[in-house]
């Protein structure tokens, strides 16, 4: 049953979790906009999502350990446009726009999920 629901929800729960992770990374970048030597990082969303969605380990025996794909935690350093003299590579404007984009994507995932849940509910009620 839960596998069925998982299939019905599609990729959106994974995308939501990744989106939350990306928001966190960008928030850390912005928090450290004035920290000497801090290097800005970001999640490569496309490849992280592909890995997180595809790298699910199937178990052939119930006593096998469930595998966790930790590929979602591959953070990449940003290539700085204009690094500061103190070694900080956070570009506040760039991070702001990236954060806004990530927030919108997160909302989109939420909306997709909500409509999928709505569809499931309708199917269950048989209206």
């Amino acid at each position: 049953m839960s596998k069925l629901i998982d299939a019905a929800l599609g990729i959106h729960p994974t995308a939501l979790a990744l989106g939350a992770r990306r928001l966190e990374v960008l928030a850390a970048n912005m928090a450290n906009a004035d920290t000497p030597g801090y290097k800005a990082r970001d999640v490569d969303f496309r490849s992280a999502l592909r890995e997180a969605a595809g790298a699910r380990l199937e178990r052939t025996h119930e006593r096998h350990l469930p595998g966790h794909a930790s590929a979602a935690d591959t953070l990449k350093y940003r290539v700085p446009n204009q690094p500061a003299l103190d070694g900080n590579t956070v570009d506040a404007e760039l991070e702001q726009t990236a954060f806004a984009e990530a927030a919108v994507r997160y909302q989109a995932s939420l909306d997709f999920l909500a409509s999928r849940i709505d569809g499931l509910r309708k199917a269950l009620r048989g209206e």
């Binding site: 966190e24 960008l26 912005m30 450290n32 004035d34 801090y38 935690d73 954060f99 939420l110």
Partner: protein, 140 residues
């Protein structure tokens, strides 16, 4: 829910930036405080920021740091010396010592700190909205 940690991160940044605003306020307020000796003059204070890694699991490069204020240092910029013989705080040669504080520098520092503060407030409020919407997921 990993979004909760953003509040820690943004909160640490808010606290660090408000420390910076405090030192700027202190520096500007004391920019014209006279002293009879070069040693006793007020020195401008500057906070030192560093990334703060909390004790969480995972490899070090995957952890997301907040900000901490390592300490507040006093700069060793030489004081401004003025010859005002009638000044009540003048030394025997008629010199008065003022802090070597550049008000323009401090104002720029203040604007930078307040912009960073605003950025982090924005982050926290956006994340709060997203979390509330996530909590409402599936309710109708």
């Amino acid at each position: 829910m990993s979004l909760f940690r953003i509040f820690d991160i943004a909160g640490s940044a808010l606290s660090a930036q408000s420390t910076r605003l405090n030192t700027v306020a202190s520096n500007i307020a004391n920019a014209d405080v006279a002293s009879p000796t070069a040693e006793g003059v007020y020195r401008s204070r500057q906070p030192v920021f560093a990334a703060l890694l909390r004790g969480e699991r995972g490899a070090a490069q995957d952890r997301l740091p907040g900000v901490q204020v390592l300490g507040i240092v006093e700069t060793d910029r030489p004081p401004r010396v003025e010859h005002i013989p009638g000044h009540p705080l003048a030394d025997e040669n008629g010199y008065v010592y003022f802090p070597g504080i550049s008000t323009v520098e401090e104002m720029a520092n203040m604007i930078s700190a307040s912009r960073s503060y605003q950025n982090n407030v924005e982050v926290a409020s956006t994340v709060k909205q997203l979390m509330l919407r996530t909590l409402q997921l599936g309710q109708r």
